[in-house]
Amino acid sequence: MSVKTYLTEEHRQCDELYAKVEKLIQEDNWDNVLEAFDAFKKATLLHFKKEEDILFPAFEETTGIVMGPTQVMRMEHTQAKELIDRMEKAIKERNKNTFLSLGDTFMVLIQQHNMKEEQILYPMCDQHLIISDIIESMERL
């Protein structure tokens, strides 16, 4: 399996988990929202961790590119984490409009972020890194 296939699959899983949260909020099903949101948050943060702790350092070490794509991806992770925190706060306050507004911004940010990773960064990683070791390390997290 390639890094691209492995991590792209995670992107899709996170998208689906987010869509579930949005659906529950749309239906005003607040009792189940927090649980669904936790699943989404956990999966997303774990995905970020896999990239930040394993993939990006390996890429930087192998290619010597430190201030390039991985730096941009880290910065976008920070922006996404900030939005996730604000979304969680909105859920706790049961503020539907604020959540949906934050969620929409989050989704566009994360989609263009995923696009860059899937089209540019992951293929570069597949080209330069020993993939089996990387995937194994990410699996252990």
């Binding site: 749309q26 390039g68 794509p69 941009v72 934050l102 911004t105 566009v108």
Partner: protein, 392 residues
């Protein structure tokens, strides 16, 4: 591959400049329609070029400046002066060309300036795209569509030269001009971008791999095949019908079920595309309805995309620049205003159909279109200004 960096995201002013110009042309389009309705006249070449050169070309170039680094990793270094040259040539060329349709003067000058602008921008983008080894459907489709823009614009210039007697007049050249620009440039670019954004923005199923990967080449071949005659345009129609069918299917089955009026623009655009394809098959007698529905197709999708791109870019650039009060997307253009613009756009479409069937009452849809165009201009302008207002 040079890799991504923050500098590679083009400055907001570039995309905003192109989009704002397109919206201003949208206003000119609706004013022209209103004038024609008052005069009980229709001058099709003028309207068609306002829609395609004024509205579609500017938005698509603006969007490409933004998408090239994101989708293909193709980075245009020092984009500001390059975008300025492109805007300058097009802003001087296209109005001159449009002027020549009304007053019969300066057509050659307008055509050359417009052609130079298209040539410059297309080569600039193609140069950067061709340097990138990407076999993904979206960058591939962008390359093909830019080539069709060049070919179609060249055919258009040949047509102008034939008016001046420098070249013989040929109906085949005219056919190739509008087919390559409508289907090869506008249609192929929209469909190629859909392969990426429909799945991502709406959390929908991805398009069949073989379809999206081979689509640009198949569309290209079918455009050339269609030159032979009416019957041979069937593969072209089938391809666009398949694209539209697959898109609607994916939008209906999307996982994000939130009420989103940009999605309604997509539905309207896709349904209009299907209707326009039927009329294209009957174009010898129903060319005007084909053009109308095809225009509804691309204007709807473009409006839906604009209402996502501008709010996101305002948030994205403000956030990257570390500003204190960063407006969320819904604060840049509130969903209620997108909803309002969608219904205005829809009412314009429906009233135009009634006016066409009854062959009277064009003044009402033209007025609605004027209101819709002003509203779009207001929303994009006000949304974009938020970025500049929050600058330290």
């Amino acid at each position: 591959m040079t890799g991504l960096s923050l500098q590679q995201a083009p400055p907001f002013i570039i995309v905003f400049g192109f989009f704002l110009t397109a919206c201003l042309f949208g206003l000119v389009i609706s004013l022209t329609e209103l004038y024609m309705a008052l005069e009980h006249s229709l001058f099709l070449p003028l309207l068609v070029h306002l829609y395609t050169l004024g509205f579609a070309l500017f938005t698509m170039f603006g969007a490409l400046f933004q998408m090239l680094p994101v989708v293909a990793g193709a980075v245009i270094k020092s984009p500001k002066p390059k975008a300025f040259i492109s805007l300058f040539l097009l802003i001087t060329g296209i109005p001159t060309f449009i002027y020549s349709f009304i007053f019969g003067k300066f057509m050659l000058l307008g055509a050359f300036l417009t052609y130079t602008g298209i040539l410059y921008t297309s080569f600039l983008m193609l140069y950067h795209l061709l340097k990138i080894k990407s076999f993904m459907p979206t960058p591939k489709g962008m390359k093909f569509s830019l080539v069709f823009l060049l070919l179609g614009a060249t055919a258009g210039l040949c047509r102008v030269l034939s008016y001046y007697g420098y070249l013989p007049i040929s109906d085949k050249v005219l056919y190739f001009h509008y087919t390559s620009l409508l289907f090869g440039w506008i249609g192929l670019l929209i469909s190629s971008v859909s392969f990426q954004v429909v799945e991502m923005f709406f959390v929908a199923e991805s398009y069949p791999k073989h379809f999206s990967e081979n689509y640009p080449l198949l569309v290209s071949l079918s455009i050339f095949l269609s030159i032979i005659g009416n019957f041979f345009s069937l593969p072209l129609l089938f391809l666009f019908f398949a694209y539209s069918f697959l898109t609607i299917k994916r939008l209906i089955a999307r996982k994000r079920k939130i009420k989103d009026y940009t999605l309604y623009f997509w539905y309207l655009g896709q349904i209009s595309l299907i209707i326009s394809l039927v009329f294209f098959a009957l174009r010898e007698t129903l060319f005007l309805p084909f053009l109308f529905f095809y225009a509804v197709f691309f204007t709807s999708i473009i409006m839906g995309m604009m209402y996502r791109i501008i709010p996101f870019l305002v948030w994205f650039h403000s956030s990257n620049e570390g500003r204190k009060e960063v407006p969320l997307m819904s604060e840049v253009v509130p969903p209620e205003r997108i909803k309002g613009n969608f219904y205005l756009h829809l009412v314009w479409v429906l009233l135009s159909i009634f006016a066409y069937i009854l062959d009277k009452g064009y003044l009402v849809p033209s007025t609605v279109h004027l209101v819709s165009s002003v509203f779009l201009l207001y929303n994009i302008c006000r949304g974009g200004m938020l970025y500049f207002k929050t600058q330290p």
